[in-house]
């Protein structure tokens, strides 16, 4: 048979094995590692130079050096706080043990440690909150997007609402969310803090739209022929979604999810600052109010951390997309 196909994957490996010249490989490494590294170095020098020339009422603007010092400080504080906490519980246990020695029937209790949340505690809180808000949004947005993509009628009905709520700033939602949560969430033994729910819902409200819109576009744009295949086979609706719609729309769904997560992470910091909910936003606000000579440096640490975490979150989504997507050869960026 004259129809010989060389699979792209195979061709790729063959190209590797057949020996790319060493010089070319070196050039590639310079391009992949050297250039980004050089970019960062130049930026750091520029930053330090500019920072030295900016004086504020709280002292000089922090350069990379001060930021590094403050990161070390923040880590030391975190460790100190943890030691304090351990000691606190140890003391209670010792005291309780003594009490029980004297009187085996004595009632003993352990009080929770209520020390100050450290920078690292705030990071964890923020991550936890954004994950929760994002999860709520994804669970609503993906199915809604699929339904909108499948039914033109529904899309026309829902589209105006989406278009109106999409550009709303999270901070406009925040007071409403706060009031609604405090009115409706009145459990005896609350599983979640109210402040946590406020932030999470605000994040969710802003995360919804990019995913809804991209999923809709992805689903509506499925190859007509593939839809016709499904019609000829008479696939039931659920199987149609599962076998045809979802695999086709995966790239667009993930584009939406990544945009949503990035929006959610930005929104969260703002919401925490404004509402004094625990998290990185509150850390920044507290440092600002604190107004010590170290504050700007510490805020800058938070700024860099927020950027890094945002970057890592996006990479994480890309990894998941690579796992879920059928098209392993697609270039994801």
């Amino acid at each position: 048979m004259s129809e010989v196909a060389l699979s792209p994957r195979w061709a790729f490996w063959k190209g590797r094995a057949s020996g790319v010249p060493a010089g070319a490989r070196l050039m590639k490494q310079v391009k992949n590692i050297g250039l980004p590294f050089a970019g960062i170095i130049v930026f750091l020098i520029f930053w330090q130079g500019t920072a030295n020339n900016i004086n504020t009422s709280l002292g000089q603007f922090p350069g990379p050096v001060q930021v590094w010092e403050q990161s070390v400080n923040l880590y030391a504080e975190h460790k100190r706080e943890r030691e304090k906490e351990e000691a606190f519980y140890q003391r209670q246990e010792d005291r309780n043990a003594k009490k029980l020695e004297k009187n085996p029937d004595a009632k003993v209790k352990i009080r929770d440690y209520t020390g100050k949340a450290t920078f690292f505690d705030q990071i964890v809180t923020s991550l936890y909150t954004v994950a929760f808000g994002f999860a709520i949004a994804a669970v609503i947005a993906v199915p809604l997007g699929i339904v909108c993509g499948l039914s033109d009628t529904l899309y026309r009905a829902i589209n105006p609402v989406i278009q109106i709520f999409k550009p709303v700033s999270p901070l406009a939602w925040l007071p409403l969310v706060t009031m609604v949560v405090s009115a409706l969430y009145v459990a005896e033994n609350p599983m979640f803090e109210k402040s946590f729910l406020n932030s999470a819902f605000t994040v969710a409200l802003c995360c919804l739209w990019p995913t809804v819109i991209n999923t809709t576009v992805g689903v509506a744009g499925i190859d007509r022929d593939l839809v016709n295949v499904s019609r000829v086979i008479r696939l039931p609706a659920i199987k149609h979604v599962q076998k045809i719609v979802l695999p086709s729309a995966v790239p667009m769904i993930f584009t939406g999810l990544r945009l949503s997560l990035a929006t959610g992470w930005m929104v969260l910091i703002a919401a925490e600052m404004l509402a004094q909910n625990p998290g990185l936003g509150k850390f920044i606000w507290d440092e600002f109010q604190n107004g010590s000579s170290d504050s700007l440096g510490r805020i800058m640490v938070a700024v860099v951390t927020i950027g890094l975490i945002g970057f890592i979150l996006d990479k994480l989504m890309l990894m998941i997309q690579r796992k879920v997507s059928w098209d392993k050869s697609a270039v994801l960026r």
Binding site: L226, R231, D327
Partner: protein
């Protein structure tokens, strides 16, 4: 007998932005069981529209289609379609692409093991049993179209609808696939409607060639009976006078009675397309 598939008085009008557009008018065609019909005509004459109406993917504005005593009102596996660009699901393997149809059609009548055997049998028919677990992206265009044919055959359709099945393939691969199709057809004797714009293909494969006039409001122009004995041999036919006569009749319909609308617009330009060279060849043949 002559009414296994009955297309009667079919016309269709599309709503476009510049008002209604009448694509087809008064299409009447009766097809026997086991007959191989080719639909041929210039691009844009509505061949695919006819096929889509039979498939149930489009609804005729007037008239209707009756298959084996039942009216066609929606798509279904009894009218399996082979699409021009194969339309395989890129995330499923060759085996799964055929399997997705088989699992729906024979859900109640076949066991799991019988289904597996049936899927493999159909892929053997098209000579693709060596690549069961490859993805469509890992096989060539011709192979993809073989799988597309296997998927349609595996649904055991009453009528097999092929929409320019070999149009996107190179000439050699196309010839291979035409031979395969004739081989399969001699075994299964399916009822087939195939759209093509390749005159040789139409004459080689068909029992009847249905030639369509140009749109708008396209309809059936002429029907040509191809009474060449089977099995047909590509090489032997090339020298066969009757084959060439039939071929000329199709060409004459296409290039004299129904001039290509695109050609009419660029009148005066020297013809360089292979269609034009076919016409000049035809003229030479006639002069000889």
């Amino acid at each position: 007998m002559n009414n296994y598939l009955d297309i009667s008085g079919v016309g269709i009008e599309f709503n476009t932005e510049s008002g209604p557009f009448r694509a087809l008018q008064n299409i009447n065609l009766k097809i026997d069981k086991g007959e191989f019909i080719s639909l041929i005509g210039h691009s844009g004459c509505g061949k695919s529209t006819v096929l889509n109406i039979v498939a149930g993917l489009y609804h005729a504005t007037e008239g209707g289609v009756i298959l084996d005593g039942k009216e066609v009102d929606q798509p279904g596996p009894d009218r399996a379609v082979v699409f021009q660009n194969h339309a395989l699901l890129p995330w499923l393997t060759v085996y799964e692409n055929v399997g997705i149809g088989v699992k729906e059609v024979f859900r109640k009548s076949k066991t799991r093991a019988e289904m597996r055997e049936w899927i493999e049998h159909n892929l053997e028919l098209v000579h693709m049993d060596h690549a069961l677990h490859k993805l469509p992206s890992e096989i060539s265009g011709g192979m993809k179209q073989r799988v597309g044919i296997a998927r349609a055959l595996a649904m055991q359709p009453k009528v097999l609808l092929m929409d320019e099945p070999f149009g996107a393939l190179d000439a050699l691969t196309r010839a291979h696939l035409q031979d395969s199709l004739m081989e399969i057809q001699s075994d299964l004797n399916n009822t087939v409607i195939m759209i093509t714009h390749d005159v040789d293909e139409a004459v080689l494969l068909s029992d009847r060639i249905v030639m369509m006039s140009n749109g708008p409001a396209a309809t059936i122009g002429e029907i040509l009976e191809v009474d060449l004995p089977r099995p047909r041999e590509r090489l032997a036919l090339a020298e066969n006078a009757h084959y060439n006569h039939l071929r000329q009749q199709v060409l004459r319909f296409l290039y004299e009675k129904q001039k290509n609308p695109a050609d009419r617009q660029k009148r005066g330009f020297s013809a360089t397309s292979d269609k034009a060279s076919e016409v000049s060849k035809l003229k030479r043949d006639e002069a000889a």
